[in-house]
């Protein structure tokens, strides 16, 4: 099977304001199959967000080539939906307008139907009573959920999410995780999911990529062969523990706090 | 009706009365001419507008026309002399004890930034044996001259006797009286404001030009015979101009129109000798070669006959 997304020996070196340069990624090489859900874990500053920006076409790698279905990525693609690490909402638009913004920005206008869809997505992220608020009247976690709803609006084939649940509490996080799995399963999405939670990565992903500290390289690529559909009982399976241990061994102290992940 | 656009060389006032009189008395209508008046901002402005066809005919200082023609062959000719004496003058307050041009030595003189008076000042000094280096000349916005004079900021200002009534009115309010020292009494003797017309207007509508000048001549005569009525003619068309100020102005500049020159050569006519003198003074003051330009080329006598 032809890979849907491929990173071919990617290197990324940033030019700094002081004239120096810094290598963020070095020789990153992996592929994602169609409809695969790939999670990326790695220490802070290892280049995960850079990876996201490369796949989204917002950044062109200084070395190697990112390809989507064989075509090199040189600019943002239509079929990609992105959740940024920062919520990145437009402060002058209401929450609902922010969620339907991708449509307005792509097509020029939104129909009442689009707004209904926006409302539905906001309901899915638990913000149905905040439609007409302005972003600065929302809490951090609420803003993040608006960002997630917005990324789902266009039903993109490829979803790229940068720590989408980082500002959410346990319950919301869990609900949103399974909601995401359901959406990805139903709509057959290909997903790159960046997270700091090892167990979240194992629970949601078909494959987990583990990255080394700066300059970021891939240190492991772990297919997660847990039964699908996943649900809360998945975490009780012995395989689950094995997977999380394997990842933890890469990036953590031997006896790291398991739940702090 | 023939349309003629008339270009003033400045804002409306008693000194521009003839054109308004001609309109109010129906002199232009008699000649089948309808007048449209355009306000100007100085002779140069008027000349530019006439030369580019925005106006057909208008007022300008003859000196300004000579300079413009010498510098830049503007297609304009003077056709009728309105003021055969120049209006330049020193104004001073009566208690300053300056009673002749020669007495300005050692005094402070304020003058407008851009007035043709300035170019004749050195000439005036040399004719009257005033040591130029002993005179302190400062330049300021024309609107500030009278306040400077009345507040004692300066001893003397240079202005035109066309403006004397405005100065007097303000001086009276400050409890001072004005002394006027015209330069034509101090040896400067030449033509000033004239009716000028674009050469195109003259060539394309010679008949209209002739009729216009005829009517204008009639208006000039009427104006200085009936200052009061002429003042109200101006006021009727330009409400901002007060009747008595305009009438007083007309009276006060009587000598610019009716003087020895006009007595000898007639109203409106240009005398070749005086024209040559006017150019000689101008060329000298401007540092131009006298032979570089023939002043006869600036006037056209074909359109006016009494």
């Amino acid at each position: 099977m032809k890979p849907y997304v491929s990173f071919n020996h990617i290197g990324q070196t940033y030019r700094l304001a002081n004239g120096q340069s810094m290598t963020a990624l070095r020789d990153v090489n992996f592929e994602i199959q169609r409809h695969e859900f790939v999670a990326v874990v790695g220490p802070s500053g290892c280049g995960k967000s850079t990876l996201l920006r490369l796949l989204s076409g917002l950044l062109i790698p200084t070395e190697g080539q990112v390809e989507i279905f064989g075509k090199p990525v040189t600019e943002p693609q239509d079929e990609v939906g992105i959740v940024f690490q920062k919520p990145t909402l437009l402060p002058w638009l209401s929450i609902l307008d922010n969620v339907v913004f991708p449509l307005r920005h792509k097509r020029g206008s939104v129909t009442p139907k689009d707004r209904e869809r926006g409302e539905l997505l906001l309901k899915k992220v638990g913000l149905e009573s905040f439609l007409n608020r302005k972003p600065d009247e929302l809490s951090g976690g609420m803003q993040q959920r608006v960002g997630i709803a917005r990324a789902l609006l266009l039903s993109p084939d490829i979803l790229i999410m940068d720590e989408p649940f980082s500002a959410l509490d346990a319950l919301t996080r869990e609900e949103m995780g399974f909601e995401l799995l359901k959406i990805c399963g139903e709509q057959k999405k290909t997903t790159l999911f960046i997270t700091h939670s090892i167990s979240e990565a194992v629970l949601l992903a078909d494959r987990v990529l583990v990255m080394s500290p700066r300059p970021g390289t891939l240190v492991d690529d772990i297919p997660i062969n847990l039964a699908k559909p996943r649900d809360i009982s998945t975490i009780h399976s012995p395989d689950f523990a094995a997977y999380t241990k394997r990842i933890r061994d890469h990036i953590c102290n031997p006896n790291v706090l398991p739940e702090a992940v | 009706m023939d349309q003629v656009t008339f270009q003033l060389d400045w804002l409306p006032g008693g000194d521009k009365a003839p054109i308004y009189v001609g309109m109010e008395q129906g002199y232009f209508k008699e000649q089948g001419i309808e007048i449209k008046i355009s306000h100007g901002r100085g002779s140069t402005d008027a000349l530019t507008k006439i030369s580019t066809g925005i106006a057909d005919v208008g007022l300008s200082d003859l000196v300004a026309l000579l300079v413009a023609k010498a510098n830049d062959q503007v297609p304009i000719s003077a056709v009728y002399s309105v003021f055969s004496q120049a209006p330049h003058a020193f104004f001073t307050v009566s208690d300053s004890n300056i009673s002749s041009v020669a007495q300005v030595e050692g005094k402070k003189i304020a003058t407008s930034l851009f007035t043709s008076s300035n170019i004749f000042l050195p000439l005036l000094f040399s004719v009257n044996n005033v040591d130029e280096s002993k005179v302190n000349v400062v330049k300021a916005n024309p609107g500030a001259l009278n306040p400077m004079l009345l507040t004692g900021n300066t001893d003397v200002v240079i202005s035109w006797i066309t403006d004397v009534e405005k100065y007097k009115a303000q001086a009276a309010k400050a409890g001072k009286s004005l002394t006027v020292l015209p330069w034509y009494d101090a040896g400067l003797d030449f033509y000033s404001t004239a009716v000028v017309a674009s050469d195109r207007f003259l060539a394309e509508r010679p008949d209209v030009a002739k009729r216009f000048i005829k009517a204008f001549d009639k208006a000039v005569k009427y104006t200085w015979e009936n200052p009061e009525k002429s003042g109200s003619a101006v006021h009727k068309i330009v409400p901002e101009v007060e009747v008595d100020v305009a009438a007083d102005t007309i009276r006060s500049i009587h000598t610019l129109v009716h003087n020895d020159v006009s007595k000898v050569h007639g109203l409106g006519h240009f005398d070749s000798t005086r024209l040559a003198t006017t150019w000689k003074w101008t060329a000298k003051a401007q540092g131009l070669r006298e032979g570089a330009f023939n002043p006869e080329a600036a006037v056209n006598r074909d359109y006016f006959s009494e």
Partner: protein, 263 residues
């Protein structure tokens, strides 16, 4: 009950305090002029200005006012219509910025009074040259502040736009321009006062009516109190138009106001 009434009276007072402070200038001015016996042809007393004001027929005032207002407003609109697209074009293209900006600087720093004859020759003696002069005087701050506003759009918002492939036009229209609204209005505030100055200066150069013409006319007749009355009228017009601009901002773009002002 009593308390809230007191509070409300005090709030009202607070609201009008600036106005009261401003109005207190007039008695001070009157008194100062009288004490220092400043002559009326230098700085007329407010009472004298008032007399000069009522001496002129209301209808004449209205004619002059309307002439100036028309040119100022039309010139202002014209300069908005010109400068916002210019700013947009310059935000998009570094080449055009480098080519156009020097031209704009030159145009802006050329004293219009000096090129007035040229403008009049090209545009005739009607209202057109005055519109052009007003526009020339007004446009530059608008271009600069709109450009600066659009250029300071946070990069993450621009990245959002790029990721959605909305295209250049929508990036401008839906992201950069809304973000720049506070700065555009700061330009508009400067612009509206310049538009009035522009209309007045245009009347100094070529006009037969208008408040600027009237000031010039009065000054040339040394009717200083009358000139001040016209200047005063002009100030009122400026204040009202300025207020209109801030009012439009409050009404149409409340989110663009600083947080403190919203309350």
């Amino acid at each position: 009950m009593k308390l809230t009434e007191t509070v409300s009276v005090r709030a009202q007072f607070q609201k009008f305090l600036p106005l009261l402070t401003l109005l207190s200038i007039f008695p001070l001015w009157e008194l100062g002029c009288a004490l220092l016996s400043v002559p009326d042809f230098v700085l007329p007393k407010p009472s004298v200005i008032w007399t000069a004001f009522v001496d002129v027929e209301t209808q004449r005032w209205l004619i002059h006012l309307w002439a100036t207002l028309r040119v100022a407003l039309l010139g202002f609109l014209l300069s908005i219509v010109i400068s916002i697209p210019l700013a947009i074009v310059m935000v998009r293209s570094a080449f055009l910025t480098k080519t156009l900006f020097p031209v704009l600087v030159v145009v802006q720093s050329t004293p219009v009074v000096a090129i007035a004859p040229l403008i009049i020759v090209i545009m005739g003696t009607g209202e057109a040259p005055r519109l052009v002069i007003t526009c020339l005087i007004t446009f530059f701050p608008l271009v600069v502040s709109t450009t600066t506003g659009m250029m300071s759009t946070p990069p993450e918002l621009l990245e959002l736009s790029r990721s959605l492939r909305g295209g250049a036009i929508r990036e401008i229209w839906q992201i950069r321009l809304p973000f720049a609204v506070p700065h555009i209005f700061s330009g508009l505030k400067v612009g509206i006062t310049l538009a009035i100055i522009g209309a007045v200066i245009a009347e100094f150069v070529a006009a037969e009516e208008g408040l600027g013409y009237f000031v010039q006319f009065s000054t040339s007749y040394f009717k200083i109190p009358q000139a001040f009355a016209a200047l005063f009228f002009l100030s009122i017009v400026s204040l009202v138009l300025f207020k209109c601009v801030t009012w439009i901002q409050t009404l149409c773009f409340p989110w663009s106001l600083p947080k403190d002002e919203k309350r």
